[in-house]
């Protein structure tokens, strides 16, 4: 088979996958806008939580999956935004606009500080530093009684009246998460998104190519922190409450688990993972009160046996199916390999 023919096949094979993806996306959107009219408040709340968790997980996956820099302290950013909103709402008489402003400022400030601290490290060191960052936010949350209310948290946070009901708040969350997802989609396909992928593969090589990787990592922190901040603001108005359990290490580990479970290094992976984890948590916790163990065991299981996640598994079978029809990547790669590596130069 000649080069030209196989290239033509590659062009034909992609639309099948793309068409299926588009169709599924369309169905998901339709369902997302119709089902609230049919579902109970309880389910609606859960789905809202899953949506917000999905945004948070995607922001973590931008670092963990795309850049290969796993943060186990990102709840520090999410939580800072939550506490920012909560402080204004609970301890002052500031209105909604001020709450948003302070929440945003707190989340971004946390991202800046975290980024400055971690931008020169990588690999395991990066993980350890981010754990410490997240834990220190937790420490402040439990100790700064006057600001955070310690274990009692900050009560008295209220959604604006127009979106007071669960039903309406669902749509707020849905739209914000969708817009943010588009934003993330643009980021991962931008030059910076490509550079992050390069960072995942080899940081030294990136530097040799002329990339200032320190700055790149800071930029990554800011981008990821921006979306985590949005998630934090959505979450605090969903719960109308914030306390130190929002910033414990488990809250930082969950988005990582969601990402791996769904498929790390993709955007849809964390999204699916978030829904699985949120529903699993809710229904299993009803049966047995051992969520921490289940989470830990899921972590271990996924890390040992399913590092590619659900998306990875689906992809594998889909490509196998395409290959069986002679238009999958393996079939195409075989024809590439057959071509001489060096043609007349």
């Amino acid at each position: 088979m000649s080069m030209i023919e196989s290239a033509g096949q590659a062009r034909k094979a992609l639309p099948i996958t793309a068409r299926v993806q588009l169709a599924m996306l369309a169905i998901a959107l339709v369902v997302a806008f119709i089902f609230p009219f049919l579902a109970s408040t309880f389910i609606l709340r859960l789905v809202t939580l899953a949506l917000v968790s999905a945004l948070f997980a995607m922001s973590v996956d931008l670092m963990a999956g795309y850049a290969g820099l796993v943060s186990l302290g990102h709840a520090g950013v999410l939580g800072s935004a939550m506490y920012g909103v909560g402080y204004v709402a609970s301890k002052t008489d500031g209105g909604f606009a001020l709450q948003l402003l302070v929440g945003f400022a707190a989340g971004i400030a946390a991202s800046v500080i975290f980024g400055l601290m971690a931008m020169r490290s990588s690999g395991v060191y990066f993980i350890l530093i981010t754990i410490a960052q997240g834990m220190i936010v937790w420490g402040l949350a439990t100790l700064l009684v006057k600001i955070t209310g310690a274990e009692n948290g900050l009560p008295g946070i209220r959604r604006p009246v127009v979106v007071e009901t669960e039903f309406r708040y669902y749509f707020v969350a849905l739209i914000v998460v969708l817009v943010s997802s588009v934003g993330l989609f643009i980021v991962v396909r931008s030059p910076v998104g490509f550079a992050l992928k390069g960072l995942r593969e080899s940081e030294t090589r990136m530097r040799m190519l002329g990339h200032n990787t320190t700055w790149l990592k800071f930029q990554m922190f800011m981008l990821s922190g921006f979306f985590a901040t949005i998630a934090g603001i959505l979450l605090v108005y969903l719960n109308e409450f914030v306390n130190p359990t929002d910033v414990i290490i488990a809250s930082s580990a969950l988005p990582v688990l969601m990402s791996i479970l769904g498929g790390i290094g993709t955007l849809i992976g964390p999204f699916i993972g978030a829904f699985v984890v949120v529903f699993l948590r809710n229904y299993v916790s009803l049966e047995i009160d051992r969520w921490q163990s289940i989470m830990g065991l899921t972590f271990i299981f996924v890390v040992l046996f399913a590092r590619d996640g659900l998306i990875g598994a689906v992809k594998k079978h889909w490509y196998k199916y395409l290959d069986s029809k002679g238009s999958g990547p393996a079939a195409l790669a075989a024809t590439e390999m057959a071509a001489p590596p060096l043609q007349s130069g």
Partner: protein, 329 residues
């Protein structure tokens, strides 16, 4: 030795010395103003009490951090389950002491039970993902959740302490008016003992040489006829042993309760981040620094006592991303 070799040797020593001097300057630049300020805030006697508090807490941190750093130096695994090992080891020790009435048996039991757990973790779980840095870390954090929850199920959620033997109770008198808890001094002594032992291993034995040679030379090590797998397992078990034991020791002057696993892990992490991952001296230095900072912070600005860890860590990471004594990677 040829002239060139002598000169080269000179250059190496020179650069190491210069590096150490730089570390010293950073440390002093942070420490001196702090100490001066502290002395204006409290009496000399209180100051020395806090120094001892800091050193004894630092001693406990050294138990954890040295095991952590050793496992990392040898196997490149950052074992986050160290916090869980600490907590569960402490609980096992408390129960054993309660049943037998023997503090030392509790200490031993805490160490041994956690060693068995360590053996299982290394052999059955970690070996499957050997060499994959990030999955290894994530597995150990998952493990910590399981251990924490298991401990909660077995030992409940109330703060627990261990029953100390008579001769470690009460205070030790120095001079006329200075009293200090015997138990904390005992912890300090134990840490110095362990530290000397580890430094001996690090400097004088083959295993120490392997640790210092680092990953790059793993093949060489295997070629030297050393069973590297056995060394790994042994080191992991040993690290687990001291982590479990340190839980029992910690239960003598701190309380054990759910969540403490991550708190102590945080302290241990800050120790190795400040000191430099994989370096035994780094662990010792970091433990002293963190212990002292924490003691004085708790005495002077209790609400900020976590934040006071953050600031020096941030500063040190900006000047030395690999920690004070870490190898540049």
């Amino acid at each position: 030795m040829t002239e060139a070799a002598v000169e080269a040797e000179h250059v190496v020593v020179d650069s190491v010395v210069r590096d150490r001097i730089r570390v010293l300057i950073i440390t002093l630049a942070i420490a001196i103003p702090l100490i001066a300020w502290t002395l204006t805030q409290m009496s000399t006697l209180a100051f020395f009490t806090q120094i001892l508090n800091g050193l004894s807490f630092g001693a406990l941190l050294f138990f954890l951090a040295s095991g952590f750093t050793m496992i990392f130096g040898l196997m490149r695994i950052a074992n986050l389950a160290h916090g869980g090992f600490y907590l569960m080891g402490g609980y096992v020790g408390i129960t054993t002491t309660l049943v037998t009435g023997q503090f030392w048996l509790g200490l031993l039991a805490g160490g041994l039970v956690i060693s068995c757990l360590g053996l299982f973790v290394e052999r059955i779980l970690l070996r499957r993902i050997r060499g994959m840095e990030k999955p290894e870390v994530l597995l150990t954090i998952g493990l910590t959740f399981v251990i924490g929850d298991f401990s909660l199920a077995v030992w409940g959620g109330d703060p627990r302490q261990i029953e100390k033997p008579e001769y470690l109770k009460g205070a030790f008198q120095i001079g006329d008016s200075f009293f200090y808890p015997k138990y904390r001094l005992f912890v300090l002594a134990l840490a110095i003992l362990l530290g000397s032992f580890l430094f001996y291993i690090d400097r004088k034995t083959k295993i120490g040489a392997i640790v210092r040679a680092g990953v790059d030379d793993r093949e060489t090590v295997a070629a030297m006829g050393i069973n590297i797998k056995a060394v790994f397992t042994g080191a992991f078990i040993f690290g687990a042993f001291i982590a479990g034991m340190s839980g029992v020791i910690g239960a003598g002057f701190l309380s054990l309760l759910p969540g403490e696993d991550f708190v102590i892990l945080l302290f241990a992490l800050v120790v190795v981040i400040i000191g430099g991952l994989g370096s035994l001296e780094g662990a010792a230095l970091g433990a002293v620094v963190v212990g002292l900072i924490d003691a004085f912070a708790k005495a002077l600005v209790p609400e900020l006592s976590f934040f006071t860890l953050f600031a020096p860590m941030a500063i040190i990471l900006m000047v030395r991303p690999n920690g004070l004594l870490g190898r540049a990677s």
